[in-house]
Amino acid sequence: MEYFLNEQQQTLRSLARKIAEQRILPVRAELDEKEEFPWELIREMASSDLLRIFIPEEYEGLGGGCLDLCLVMEELSRVCGGVAISYGANALGALPLINYGSEEQKRKYLPDIASGKRLAAFAVTEATAGSDAANIRTTAVRANRHYVLNGTKQFITNGGEAEIYSVVVMTDPARGSRGASALIVEKGTPGFSFGKKEKKMGIRASSTRELVFHDCRVPAENLIGREGQGFIIAIRTLDRSRPGVGAQAVGIAQGALEASVEYARQRIQFGHPISAIQAVQHMLADMATQVEAARALVYAAARTIDAGAKSFSEEAAMAKVFATDTAMRVTTDAVQILGGAGYMRDYPVEKMMRDAKITQIYEGTNQVVRNTIALELLKRKAMRE
């Protein structure tokens, strides 16, 4: 379908595809098997400017928006969802700085993120605070010109590999979610260490780790926005990043669809390719239709954000839910079309199915994201009455 991408976006998309096919494809199975962080690929993406695209031009970026980021996420995910999220989580970590950071903070960190010299990550989740993100227990106590952090974040993508962490902590626990604040914590700060690296079902090339803060002193100027804004910064940041997860899902589903079509044309049963069987054809037709619908919704949500809409929680949530549920369905069907081969690691679709699952869970589970959609829907209706 025609999505009216501008010249730079078309170029960006084909560049991302080139990187995915030439560099990621040959190593994706090995990265998955070994659970290895794709440093070499990240460096290659950096030298191709892919890490610059979502950073404003004033800070050595290329000033692209949500759609540009989605195009890259989609193309990388079409080949490997794990490498893609390592790229995506970096953008997620940079978003609070881009949107809420002070001039000095932007100048200090964004050029390094743009060049790929330092990776970023975003940390909200804790053992007690998953869907209930407001229930975070990590505290930051102001002591003169510093904050002193104590607590543990879990399941943090790019944990250990990133150098710049946007961390949501409690500066005033008595005030509940209004007592949360966002702070930048750099790797290497005394009192900041990394806990265990998780062993995962999918996206195994990515790193997911605990961040452990033990009397970790962070300069007060590392506060993003004002004290008490942490929770709102987290929510707004997720609103901006959810189309990216949607794009990851579209890419994974697209990869699974292509693998299915290819296999169906080759696999002979009952004397003809299984692609001649109508039951298989209809599965392929449904897969293709769903992927295209998901793509259209993701791009539309991304464009709504890029157009400067004031509120876009609902659009972003819809794109995330629809695309990620689609990816789960399409990758499951892909495994079905490949039959026993689909279940084997020699073929790529079982990995795609494992990778797809996480997209329904992170950046808000699809249940929680549906809550957001319903809330907006009902709020709007109530406001009209």
Binding site: E7, Q8, T11, L15, R23, S48, L50
Partner: protein
């Protein structure tokens, strides 16, 4: 260190059609790309520039679509790009191609080094590099797999040999051809790609190059393609008949006959 890289645009998707009348390749299609070995040549030129300064010029003889390949070279970091293009060049053999390229390189101004690919993936003759060197009156080393050092007036390299490699020194200026083992070509950057869209590609025709059109093209080329044919497929199929046991017997007999068993 000024380096000229010779780039040929070749078909990216291979569904080779041979014109039965003329016996030549039917060209066309949209999936053109830079000959893969020439990507290695360009990468090596870029590395020489990064290490020793100077500039990289990309040159190609071909139809106007080859501008796209030259644009790609610019996106990858080439400083200038020249297309040698004229209807009279159509159907040139390797001698004529090398002749045209040599005039183009002369017109650019003598570089310190000319780098070619080892061969193309369509013509596959591997003749252009050495012919070009001869015509430019320069020394030539083929199949270079590593440039060890570049010093005043000479270069020390490894070239691939059947077993192991040779270490050779060549005086500069000179011409080399490279194998794919020499490097992994970089990918372009988004900024490079966007800038290359606006870059201007110099085009020189026969007159501007001073090419005697009687000496090039399908008429002027000394080489004549006599015949191109597909190799005969010699797979014979035979369906064995009879009961399973007798089929197994027959199969064993046939495998013995063929001295496989």
């Amino acid at each position: 260190m000024n380096v000229v890289v010779c780039l040929k645009q070749v078909p990216g998707k291979f569904k080779i059609e041979i014109d039965p009348q003329t016996g030549t390749l039917v060209k066309g299609g949209t999936d053109n790309m830079i000959n893969p070995f020439d990507m290695n040549a360009l990468e090596e030129a870029m590395r020489l520039k990064e290490k020793h300064g100077g500039k990289v010029s990309a040159i190609s003889m071909g139809p106007s679509e080859a501008k796209e390949s030259l644009r790609e070279a610019i996106a990858l970091g080439a400083d200038e790009a020249v297309l040698l293009c004229d209807p009279a060049f159509d159907g040139s053999d390797t001698w004529a191609t090398s002749h045209i390229l040599s005039l183009g390189i002369r017109k650019l101004g003598q570089p310190d080094m000319v780098i070619c690919g080892r061969q193309t993936i369509d013509g596959e003759t591997g003749q252009v590099g050495p012919e070009l060197a001869e015509m430019l009156g320069l020394p030539f080393v083929s199949c270079v797999s590593r440039i060890e050092e570049v010093a005043e007036g000479h270069v020390k390299m490894q070239r691939m040999a059947e077993e192991g490699h040779h270490v050779v020194e060549m005086q500069l200026p000179g011409v080399i051809s490279v194998v794919k083992e020499i490097n992994v070509p970089r990918l372009p950057s988004l900024r490079g790609l966007m800038q290359s869209k606006k870059a201007s590609i110099t085009v020189w025709n026969a007159r501007e190059l001073g090419v005697d059109v009687a000496m090039v093209g399908s008429k002027g080329s000394p080489g004549r393609l006599v015949k191109v044919s597909r190799p005969q497929r010699s797979t014979r199929q035979e369906l064995l008949q009879g009961s399973l046991e007798s089929q197994v017997e027959q199969l064993i007999g046939k495998l013995r006959e063929a001295k496989i068993l």
